[in-house]
């Protein structure tokens, strides 16, 4: 089986990975790097649980091949905050009680993070639209919306 050496930046650290041609970024993160905050669910671009930032843009890591990423920069949920120092957005999710089972939350946070980096004060319709690729099976959408609004309102403080 032919393998490819890929050098890329993950959460600001350089990494070299040996991957096969069809291995996804998601599987490389979870199985090779032990970055299990990025969740695997549908593995076909429907649910957003696997959302990461690729060169600053939100993408489904289940639809990106690791081989495509030579020289790229990837940010996962582990690069956004740590348990002892959560990001403002993660704090807002907790403050609004937006986390139920939690499975969709890393993807939600990554999608919301990309949105707020792009537009610090989005309206509700924009937030809904930009999170429409992220499914929450606990259906906590209203609280997730409020969490993003809360983080957005704190953005200038």
């Amino acid at each position: 089986m032919s393998s490819h050496r890929v050098t890329l930046d993950i959460n600001g650290e350089p990494h070299s990975l040996d991957v096969t041609a069809t291995q996804t970024l998601l599987d490389a993160l979870r199985w090779q790097l032990d970055l299990t905050g990025t969740k695997k669910c549908c593995a076909e671009g429907e649910c957003g649980a696997c959302t990461v930032l690729l060169d600053g843009l939100a993408v489904n890591s289940c639809l990106v091949l690791a081989t495509e990423l030579h020289g790229a920069s990837v940010t996962t949920i582990e690069g956004i905050g740590t348990p002892s120092s959560l990001s403002r957005l993660q704090d807002a999710f907790l403050a609004e009680g937006a986390v139920q089972c939690g499975f969709c939350i890393p993807g939600m946070v990554m999608a919301a993070h990309a949105l707020l980096a792009d537009q610090p004060h989005p309206d509700a319709a924009t937030i809904r639209d930009r999170l429409s690729g992220n499914l929450c099976r606990c259906a906590g959408y209203p609280r997730i919306l409020r969490a993003v609004q809360l983080a957005s309102s704190q953005a200038d403080e």
Partner: protein, 287 residues
Amino acid sequence: MAMLAEPRYHSPEVLDEVFTDLEHFGPSGLPFAGGTDVVVGLRKGKLAPRVMVDLKRVADLAQGIEVNDTWLRIGALTTLSRLVAHPDVRSHFPALVEAANTVGSIQIRNRATLAGNICNASPAADTAPALLAYHARIALVSRHGIRQMPVADFVLGPRRTALRAGEVVNGIDLPLDGGVAGSSFTRLTRRRGVDLATVSVCAVVDRRGTHIAYGAVAPRPFVLTDNAGVLADPHADPAARKALLTGFAAHASPISDLRGSREYRQAMVITCSERALQTAITRRHRP
């Protein structure tokens, strides 16, 4: 269970290497750009190439969006996110923006390309009706040079295009000579948010006529034109307009699937075309 052989991955830097790969591997060479459909196809075993040819680093493939007096050219590697953010695309081709914005989610649009959406040739591809109604042309490049054809002739049927062996898409051109136009894209889905279209329609009213293009209701998207001015006339007899649109809808041959029955789709083709046309006319006459 036999393991499928892992393909090789190539990331050529010039077109010449792409052509060499495609010549060497023939139909088992798979060129791709955003990969959002390809990765799913690989995973489900629907695609089993021997080599995957990543086009994203090919320096001599048109990368961005170029505008001159008569054309707007969308390079083969342009993602849907970049397409919908481009000011000239937004002002001249709003229905393409509306259509592209319905493809998947933002996560998908950040990767997927317009050219890839067309090459994938899904009967439900949302961008296809918009490209057809705007009379877009696709440029294909091979070792023998570039040839062009209307996007309407390029998509032949489900998963089938006019792409020849050894050829890749260079770009998609949209004409800027239609005069003041009004256009609109309408689609029907089972739910709001991310879903494939049950019916999609794009209407464009320009000085050449009124062009109505249909997606998801036939093996391939198609476009029909009214040159008599009936559809473009905001004061036309509604019965005459409806008769024309009903005649257009007779070209549809929808199937029944989990998104809707044949009969439902057939009825909704007319409704969607009325809505798209009305919005296009309103936009055209907006001061």
